[in-house]
């Protein structure tokens, strides 16, 4: 049984998280990369089917359910953990290394879970392990953001678990399968729980709040794993839920507008994740085979180019110590390689032909066209224009070009960071020029052909005119030192009031009561030190020294006896 557990890719990574602390420090970075390589090799060779059952209470849990969909998500999660491991090779922080491995293990566990309990457990492992990647930055800001992130995810996990329990109690199956579009309480709770991790507004604010405050290397794992594993679960559970078509479109536009306003470079990229996931959610809402293939392919490509972008943004922060457009600028000549690699990712996400974003975006718009959903096509094109504007133009222009806006030194970045970015850029180009490599792994067989003259004309015209628009209107873009208010306002702003009402007021009340009690006790004890002061005040006024212990022992005993006699007499009289 124990040996069989080792065939689960997730177990390999979580085991790795526990083994890392036992290894010598200089080996850890290398071993960090080895575990996801083993997991990748394992899941590559797993046959399809339900491979491992474990009895738990009266249930039979499916720990390892492999099919085309779970395999391709497993491949990309393992691959990005390897690339992230290369990027973080220079990091000596054991806490970050272990939690990143456990986090990736959680994502793989969710991917291969065949039943809801297994899914939920790995879902929570992800939330707990990833929180540390925010805290590890060790600033006051990240400590608070990490706590908010954890609380929101515990809430989301609660929603999901409520949904699962309702689903089971109403006779639903424990095993994961697509759910018919019906708005029962169970389905709504499950959808909300998954939607929170997919960053669907208004449940999305944790993402843009936490990712810019995570560690440089931690953010690379975070941008790849949490939201995309939720997209995977959404493809599994909710394909063809029509509400998702418009939810996705709203997400795409919403994320774009916030990304255009953001000043922190990783906040721009974080909001852009929400926008990109909008494409996937829309495709899931359509639910056709082409659309689900498109959502899967887009999630796959998105993980590659988005982590590349986060790696490049991390390189900027590593080199300059700042992440704000209002402070950066004027050092393009000092990091040409990083700019080049960043632009590969930025043009990929913008849908430039011959890069990987193009081969999955065209698939989704093809699926929308087949379903005659014309306005979603046009609105998603607006989001594409916006993506090119903020990630492809605004961010690089104000980060590296323009004049220097504050004083900072540009230090060298470790070679392994560049290598990791190079690997990411390589895959962006590889799947862009040879999309069949990706298409052949998709859950449904497809003969989709992205390279048509129509698609080429469409993207070139859009991108060229968006560039012209940027160039002439760029002075209207925000690069001042501001923050954006989002739906986290609802739990961050009242935090002060909540603290005052529920923490500080009771605290003050108890403090007040405590002070009164203590001062009363002090006065009482002061009195009992010398009762004669009360009984014979004349002694004091005459200035004579009073000694309560000035009597002989027998005298004291006699006096005490008399006092006791009085007390008894009073008691008897009273009764």
């Amino acid at each position: 049984m124990m040996l069989e557990l080792l065939t689960i890719p997730a177990v390999i990574l979580i085991l790795g998280a526990f083994l890392l602390p036992l290894m010598p420090e200089r080996m850890r970075s290398g071993m960090f990369i080895l575990f996801p390589i083993i997991a990748l090799w394992l899941l590559w060779n797993l046959p399809e089917g339900n491979l491992l059952q474990v009895s738990f209470a009266s249930y039979e849990l499916e720990l390892l359910a492999v099919d085309g969909l779970s395999r391709i998500f497993g491949i990309i999660f393992a691959l990005i953990t390897i690339i992230g491991g290369v990027y973080a090779y220079h990091i000596k922080d054991l806490g970050q290394q272990s939690s990143a491995l456990a986090y990736a293990g959680g994502a793989l566990g969710v991917t291969f879970a065949g039943d809801f309990f297994t899914l939920f457990i790995f879902w929570e492992i992800m939330a707990a392990a990833s929180s540390y990647l925010i805290w590890a930055r060790k600033t006051e800001e990240s400590a608070k953001a990490g706590m908010r992130y954890l609380l929101v995810h515990i809430f989301g996990g609660g929603l999901l678990f409520t949904g699962i329990l309702l689903h089971l109690s109403s006779g639903g199956s424990l095993y994961i399968d697509s759910i018919e579009p019906a708005y029962t309480a169970a389905n709504i709770f499950m959808l909300l729980g998954v939607a929170l991790n997919t960053a669907v507004p208004p449940l999305h604010a944790w993402l843009a709040d936490a990712y810019p405050k995570a560690t440089i290397t931690g953010a690379v794992f975070m941008c790849a794993l949490t939201t995309k594993s939720a997209v995977y679960v959404m493809i599994r559970l909710f394909p063809g839920w029509e509400i998702l078509i418009w939810v996705g479109v709203i997400m795409a536009i919403y994320g774009t507008i916030y990304a255009l306003l953001a000043n922190d470079i990783r906040e721009i990229l974080a909001y852009s994740i929400i926008s990109q996931i909008g494409y996937m959610v829309t495709a899931i809402g359509i639910g056709s085979e082409l659309a689900l293939n498109g959502a899967t392919a887009h999630a796959f490509n998105h993980i590659i180019y988005k982590s590349l972008l986060f790696m490049a943004a991390g390189a900027v922060i590593h080199a300059t110590g700042t992440s704000k457009l209002s402070e950066l600028g004027g050092f393009a000549k000092k990091m040409p390689l990083v700019i080049g690699l960043y632009m590969v990712g930025a043009l990929s996400i913008s849908g430039m032909p011959l890069l990987n974003g193009f081969v999955s975006k065209t698939m989704i718009s093809g699926a929308l066209g087949d379903a005659h959903l014309e306005w979603p096509i046009l609105l998603l094109l607006i989001a594409t224009i916006g993506t090119f504007l903020h990630t492809g133009l605004k961010l690089p222009y104000y980060t590296w070009f323009t004049e220097k806006k504050s004083k900072f030194e540009v230090s060298a970045i470790p070679i392994n960071m560049k290598v990791a970015m190079g690997i990411g850029a390589f895959f962006c180009i590889l799947f862009g020029v040879a999309p069949q490599l990706l298409y052949s792994q998709l859950p449904y067989p497809t003969d989709f052909q992205p390279f048509s003259i129509y698609n080429f004309v469409e993207m070139i015209q859009i991108l060229v005119l968006a560039f012209v628009g940027f160039w002439f209107l760029k002075k209207h873009l925000n690069i001042s030192s501001t923050i954006s208010l989002d739906t986290d306002w609802f739990y961050r702003r009242p935090a002060g009031v909540v603290r005052t009402v529920f923490v500080e007021t009771p605290n003050n009340l108890f403090g007040f009561a405590e002070r009164i009690t203590l001062s009363l006790a002090e006065k009482l004890s002061g009195t009992s030190k010398n009762p004669l002061r009360l009984l014979l005040p004349a002694f004091v006024t005459e200035g004579r020294e009073i000694k309560s212990d000035g009597f002989t022992a027998s005298m004291s005993a006699a006096l005490a006896f008399i006092l006791f006699g009085f007390l008894v007499a009073i008691l008897v009289a009273l009764i």
């Binding site: 306003l261 004309v457 015209q461 209207h476 501001t482 923050i483």
Partner: protein, 71 residues
């Protein structure tokens, strides 16, 4: 932006327009395919709308001081 940058972009746009009016002349899968150079217009228009809408929303609702939550 140097001159040759603009020339390169212009050439790309002209190539796409030539392709549109030759190879795709009778192509119509969406209603907007009848509008000549629709994607160029949509790109330019979308860009301007996004920039001004986000600017407006930022001003009236979204943007705030960095110490907003600390205050």
């Amino acid at each position: 932006m140097k001159n040759w940058h603009w020339i390169a972009l212009g050439t790309l746009l002209i190539v796409s327009l030539i392709l549109e009016f030759t190879y795709l002349a009778d192509y119509a899968s969406h209603w907007w395919n009848h509008v000549p150079a629709f994607y160029a217009l949509w790109g330019g228009l979308g860009c301007a709308v996004l920039i001004f809408v986000s600017k407006g929303l930022g001003k009236i609702l979204i943007l705030s001081d960095e110490d907003y939550y600390d205050a």
